[in-house]
Symmetry: C2
Subunit: 361 residues, 2 copies
């Protein structure tokens, strides 16, 4: 039986969920989907637990987020929370985690997953994941492609190649974010899938690919690996990691692979892109409101209320006669914005930056 490991990419930051998401508390550490008690990262681990026990999970994050990340997923062993000293994009991050896994088992089957996405049909998701792992067993690097449901211009696409059987296709090529007419063609043509950043491979296969396509990265990771074997990993990480080439795994490795496989997936996937998405995913009352337990909605419809403050202080949020609003409370900030303008949260972040209010970022 092959040992399966997961590398969950949890070092991201962003502003689209301000004021909930902050420099020290980004999206993956927040409960932004259906369960107001479960952070997206925790949901990611729960979702794969029937396939990967938590003791085989590695979390790739950064030093600033390390403590809060451990708080959100306390069952992940401390040594498996890899805290980068500098942001170097996904290739160095995956290379480091793969080296750590390969030290235990070079034949290990590894899945790389984002930490901040959402899946509606978890059973189907696991079926697709098992299919991808099966494909990766043979040594073929494999990804999951999401069946598009709209002409999305914000994602990269994967063009389907030949049928490899068992629900697996070859990857013809990776495509950058398309224009709207092109995205519409993709949607109609059914030959393009969304690239959701999920990758499956044997550890030594990824190591060989990095050695071939990113030799500088390979050399740096080799030094870290040697230091780890000598019991002194973090000093080497501190000096070496910031010097590694900052490149994505897509550009650095995946797009250069000759034989890459993709498993099409259709399991109600979302990248939880804005408060609008959080409302779409949230559990609604009879008036379409997604409310926290302390919220009172009177004559109010289709609103999203999220309270991320300390719950021991018995607070109440009352909405009267308002519709389609997003209302988000944190200990030090309140946001009120129409759902359809959720993307404009960035305007607040920009205004706070311009106003020198760094403490609210």
């Amino acid at each position: 039986m092959d040992r399966v490991y997961a590398v969950v990419m949890a070092g991201g930051s962003g502003t689209r969920f301000w004021p909930a998401s902050r420099q020290r508390l980004p999206k993956q550490l927040l409960p932004l989907a259906d369960d107001p008690d479960e952070a997206l990262l925790a949901a990611t681990l729960r979702r794969i637990e029937p396939i990967v026990p938590v003791e085989n999970v590695f979390i790739a994050t950064n030093q600033r987020l390390r403590d809060e990340t451990r708080r959100v997923v306390p069952r992940v062993p401390e040594s498996q929370v890899l805290a980068e000293p500098a942001a170097r994009n996904t290739a160095p991050c995956i290379a480091w985690a793969t080296a750590a896994i390969a030290r235990r088992d070079p034949e290990a089957l590894v899945m790389v997953l984002p930490s901040d996405h959402y899946v509606t049909n978890e059973e189907e998701f696991r079926t697709v994941v098992r299919r991808a792992l099966e494909s990766a067993k043979s040594g073929t690097m494999t990804t999951i492609g999401i069946l598009p449901t709209r002409p999305e211009t914000g994602y990269g696409y994967i063009e389907l190649g030949t049928d490899l059987g068992s629900g697996v296709r070859s990857v013809k090529r990776f495509v950058e974010k398309p224009s709207l007419p092109v995205a519409e063609e993709y949607l109609a043509g059914k030959h393009h899938l969304w690239n959701a950043g999920m990758f499956f491979f044997r550890a030594h296969v990824m190591q060989a690919a990095i050695a071939k396509h990113l030799p500088e990265l390979h050399a740096g990771i080799a030094r870290i690996d040697a230091a780890a074997k000598a019991g002194d990993e973090y000093d080497e990480v501190a000096s070496t990691f910031p010097t590694l080439p900052a490149i994505s795994i897509d550009h650095g490795v995946m797009e250069k692979m000759r034989d890459l496989a993709v498993v099409p997936g259709d399991f109600g996937w979302s990248d939880v892109g804005s408060w609008q998405t959080a409302w779409e995913l949230g559990e609604k009352d009879e008036n379409g409101n997604v409310l926290s337990e302390i919220a009172l909605a009177i004559d109010a419809k289709r609103n999203l209320v999220r309270d991320l403050r300390d719950r021991s202080a018995k607070r109440v949020i009352a909405l009267v006669g308002v519709n389609d609003l997003v209302v988000v409370e944190t200990e030090d900030a309140l946001l009120v914005i129409p759902r359809h303008r959720a993307q404009d949260v960035r305007l607040v972040v920009e205004a706070l930056k311009a106003g020198g209010k760094a403490e609210h970022l």
Copy 2:
């Protein structure tokens, strides 16, 4: 030179400013008008200070509000904050304060004022007050009537009588809250003024009027007065006050007076009746927003933001793309309601009561 005293009626409670106004923090103790740092009660005292020094001010409140009231107007001598042990309407309250003033000076000129109203033109207000005091000097009980600016059905009216000279008229009669057609007649006819609950009299004149029209009240207050002279006022207040007849000064005294005078006033008066009024009175930015200093309005117009929480915690409130909203924050509650629905705050209070959430009332 006559000594002038003020009795400021500050025992009121209400729900129209929830969540700012609470059982323990009613409207008069809150900054609901133009200055976000000045409670309505404090503004009332500041407004009359050129006429009545603060050492001549008596505050009529109740035991529950006593400490918070003293915090809001700390310069009023402690012995002059009269804390009722039970709510008995305005006649017992004015009678008690008048007795306290008469012990110092039976000839004292007394003005009774509500604590929770707002005045735009303070200079004109004081001119009218001086006119009323002048009228009261001769022994005529005098009131101020506000020139109506709309057919208001929520107030009582004063019908004008003969011209007594010096801007003073006799009162023909007090009129109860009228129907809309009647209120429209009053507005057009210019013979009716709003009764704003402001009264001016010599202390002994009020005492004589109470003795004549409310003998039971007079007897009770006489016992309290005797106890006060003996240095033991509060024990007597505790036992006697709750037994006094609960009646308003309007019904109990004013409406029964033969010669009552009224000074018409036109000084931008408001009873600060709802969050809508608070917005009308507030200082607006170029987009018509009334904001607290911590608020950020982006592409947002004509909103009212009030933050009544501890200011040392540097919080931010961001409104994006919303118009004509009321957003009020307190330590334990948030309200979001359209301005034009401000009266429906009562729906929240009712829902909280029904839900057993007394801590938020």
